[in-house]
Symmetry: D2
Subunit: 135 residues, 4 copies
């Protein structure tokens, strides 16, 4: 994420139960970190993933591309940075990076998704539409 | 669970991501194993935890007592055995044990719960009531 | 935990992936919260669960007693409070409570454990011994 | 995976705790499924991810590309199919697909990795080298 300011960032500690028998954060757990950062970003805008679900709008991923660059371990503190972009009329894209406190680049991800509505059609609720149109 | 036949048992493999940096299955993961065995037990009776939720009946734990007796590790295969009992008019109790293939007793648990209904009152759906009345 | 000041407390946000199909934090996840608070407590004293493991001292739970009093949901913020006590010569006990921001008592737990050393005998490293002797 | 027979397949049930508040298996959990299938594949060849770690050879992912095509839900049964390929001299690639019992294509993934050895250099242990050379 070299050339743009992130839209949001979130810092947290590695939790020991997130580490596997290799003593590093398990690959799947980074998707937890990325999801939590996306949902906190929405929350920072007054939007709620859970409320969208209750209203019949399910934001879902359709593709994840993740480059694992360096591991996180017990005791590490990390920052997730993210930027939201419009992938297409019906798709959003989150560009997300994780860094250690010392600046080590841990992970680069591109998380692409859409919104599936209770009536079956795709299309974003107005708040997400407005957010993407600003990009 | 020495003196009663179990009502249900389920055998599975430890998954490596369930092991933590000590190289053993993390304490929290055993609650996953115990929950999965309870839900598969219900399913074996034609009952579904998820369907109860959709119908407005949430089966929830109110207390867990778990004795950790021996660890499970990568490569281990385990069996969860369970028995359901009536704790009180509004409470069920699952007595659950986990064993390794070589007979090692891994865990003993007593998981006590109730049912919270969408209208706020407690009380079991008829299928669970019938199940507990047989005990 | 009404009559003693806690030894440590830690506040965090519910993460949406921690919620299950009932829309509440899954029972197993609270053990993650409790473990993370215990390990951060050790860290606040300059002690590390992971370092103890590397040095051949595995702190392990032998028993968990958890009362689930009220659920946490998406959007909730919670505080884990803990107190460490000496259960016996070879056992520690963590008394842990979780509260919501509005004061709702979410969970009460008693987590009892010991230390298994690489040479097979039980017994705490001096730092933990000293900690327990102050209780 | 239309045009090749898989090298391995593994069938399992969705566990309810793997479902999130949308009522579907959480995105991160599929990485657990994929990892477990890879490790069981190694085990079917007499190889162990945990043993490699103890011997100083850490098999790690460097990139994951995952297309989420259809969700899994409570009660679903799924099969993970995989094929191993040589990505480059120092990289392996697992092509993995998940299907529901009714044939629905749930997920397609390309998981690329390498081996980091305790002495710091990259390079596979002979058993993995031999496996990749057959491809």
């Amino acid at each position: 994420m070299p050339d743009h300011a992130p839209d949001f960032e979130l810092t947290a500690d590695v939790r020991d139960y997130e580490c596997d028998l290799q003593g590093v954060v398990n690959n799947a757990v980074y998707q937890n970190y990325l999801e939590h950062a996306r949902h906190k970003y929405l929350q920072s805008l007054g939007l709620s993933f859970a409320a969208f679900h209750r209203q019949g709008h399910d934001l879902v991923l359709t593709r994840a591309e993740i480059d694992y660059k360096a591991p996180l371990q017990s005791g590490d503190r990390y920052t997730v940075k993210l930027r939201i972009e419009k992938e297409s009329r019906l798709r959003f894209r989150f560009v997300q990076d994780i860094y250690k406190e010392d600046g080590t680049h841990v992970l680069h991800g591109r998380l692409i998704g859409t919104c599936i509505n209770r009536d079956g059609h795709r299309g974003f609720p107005p708040e997400i539409e407005a957010l993407l149109d600003q990009r």
